[in-house]
Amino acid sequence: MTETPAPSVTYGPPEGYAAGATRDLVVDLHRRMVRIRMFEESAGKLVESGDMPGFLHLYVGQEAVAAGVMSVLDDVDQITSTHRGHGHAIAKGAEFRPMFAELYGKTTGYCKGRGGSMHIVDMSRGMLGANAIVGGGIPIAIGAAFAAQYRGDGSVAASFFGDGATNIGAFHESVNMAAVWDLPVLFVCENNGYAEFTAQGNHMRLDDIAERANSYGIPGVVVDGMDALAVRAVAKIAVDRAKRGEGPTLIEAKTYRYFDHQGIKGMRIPYRDPAEVEAWKARDAIRLLEVIGVERGLATPEDFAATWAQTEAEIADAIEFARSSPDPDPADILDDVYTV
């Protein structure tokens, strides 16, 4: 009897994972992250000032995860996201104008003003929607993966979710079913250490969520979620595995959100140690990539500065576009409840 070794958790990408990085790759990853950061900081200020409605769950701090994973996906590959979904949308290629317009509740928004921050969607980019129910997008992602497998079109799906979502039944049901059917899907857990305001140590016994992969007979991998090149490397391995028909992978990216669960005003209650916040900021993903890029001679400070400047201009343009866009007409309130 031959014994098949049980899949187990691996830690980090293989050594030398960044060796093949090119200027184009570094600039691309950097650009995705800067776009997220600047969008989020601008949006947060607009809500805080009362100019924009709603409330926001900001992705700042976690940019390397979205950028790294999305850099190995194409438009045909589908993702599902979370209440903290702006970063996934932007990294997947969503545009600022319809994003800001959606946040402003305008007809030119991605959802025509019907969805807002927590329901950004861009079907043309394979962004199957942010989702305001924790864990709600995970079963939908296995459906997208099923459709890919059913059609044999070679695409994959990826579902993003937080540490808190891995305590929800939908996570376990979905990972198990995807494993049983070898569905081409990446389960990407962005472990930022907190389920809203509850620290990981108070909501599970595990240190490494990737160990949950062992329960379902699939590979689990822990990766530094502040290192976009490392995230990209493990995501590439998982995508290749999915495309070979070998099934899903659970990726746990250790990361951190700089702002509160919601909004930008900072800590209203001292549920995080300020030293902890500063320690994570010292390993900021964007700065880390800028340092690596320059040290290795792959990109120059001018390259990075150009991205920051160009993004700032695009943000200003998109905010103006959103503000000047028409409001929805209450007479149309019943449109799109059903497909007719």
Binding site: G136, I140, A144, F146, A147, Y150, T339
Partner: protein, 328 residues
């Protein structure tokens, strides 16, 4: 069309076979739907006919079953996801009412979800509180969902085909006590559009609106009422969402009396909605208050004597209709 007598479950099964033959985007997943053909034999023969890529047994994981259907439907396939007993819908409810129902609207129309959920509801088999419920009002309350409740073999086939061809999430609720009921069914593939009521029997003195299996009891009651000289019209809405209120109101204006019958509990049931809409649209025509006959506000009990007391039947429908007619 060539028509034969088929049982309710066989008619449903034929509809599944024919729609799967017609449309390669239709697939079926659920607990024991493939190898076993479904616990009610709704899906017999589908695995053999269409293979294990399109007919799949799942783990017992209702959230993942429905969620997979939502994602696959959003990607353009036409999933049929079976939930076996309607009572199990609670386990999957987030995917049904927060995801499937709302995606179209909250995404500004960017996506359609042509998902069909099949399940079996209804009491009368001593299956007790967690295997007997009629939860259609709960689903009909959610914008974005459609709910079909076939009450004959003809409708069991036509409504499953209509549901699968519909571009919205539809829950098709078979009645498990009707599985062996026989009736005429055309051989060809046909669809019943969702939202069109069936006037099962025409009459002049009282309108009986009946849901699901209560259509059979109401039809029996109408025969008894006929012997008493009372002419009853029986209407089966077929779908409670969308609700063909126009057909009901037209009938109410003719008969001036309306009785609504369902297996679900009376409080907050679909009868309350129908009653409210009838009085809003036909108040001046009514000779008596719109009346409901439904289950008491309790879980479905187990003992046969209790369950018989719980579910309306032809005798009680007859008595309630008589009371309405004799009132005025």
């Amino acid at each position: 069309m060539n028509t034969r007598e088929l049982t309710y479950v066989k008619a449903f099964n034929e509809g599944m076979h024919q729609i799967m033959a017609e449309d390669p985007d239709v697939f079926l997943i659920g607990e024991d739907v493939a190898g076993y053909g479904g616990v009610f034999h709704m899906f017999d023969g589908l695995l053999t006919a269409y293979g294990d890529k399109r007919v799949k047994d799942t783990p017992i994981a209702e959230q993942a079953i429905i969620g997979l259907g939502v994602g696959a439907a959003a990607r353009g396939l036409r999933p049929v996801c079976d939930l076996m007993f309607m009572d199990f819908i609670g386990v999957a409810m987030d995917q049904i009412f927060n995801q499937a129902a709302k995606m179209k609207y909250m995404f500004g129309g960017a996506v359609s979800v042509p998902l069909t959920i099949t399940t079996a509801g209804g009491a009368g088999m001593s299956a007790a509180a967690q295997h007997s419920q009629s939860l259609e009002a709960w689903l009909a309350h959610i914008p974005g969902l459609k709910v079909a409740m076939p009450a004959s073999p003809y409708d069991a086939k036509g409504l499953i085909v209509g549901a699968i061809r519909d571009d919205n999430p539809v829950i098709v609720v078979l009645n498990k006590k009707m599985l062996g009921v026989k009736g005429p069914v055309p051989e060809e593939l046909y669809a019943i559009p969702l939202g069109v009521a069936n006037v099962v029997r025409e009459g002049d003195d009282v309108t009986i609106v009946a849901i699901g299996r209560m259509v059979i009891e109401a039809t029996k009651a109408a025969a008894s009422l006929g012997e008493l000289g009372i002419s009853a019209e029986v209407i089966d809405p077929r779908t409670v969402q969308p609700l063909d209120i126009g057909t009901i109101v037209t009938s109410a204006k003719k008969t001036n009396r309306v009785l609504i019958v369902h297996e679900a509990v009376e409080f907050g049931g679909i009868g309350a909605e129908i009653s409210s809409q009838v009085q809003e649209s036909a108040f001046d025509y009514l000779d008596a208050p719109v009346t409901r006959l439904a289950a008491p506000f309790a879980p479905v009990p187990y003992a046969p004597i209790l369950e018989s007391a719980y579910v309306p039947d032809a005798a009680r429908i007859t008595a309630a209709a008589r009371k309405l007619v004799e009132r005025s």
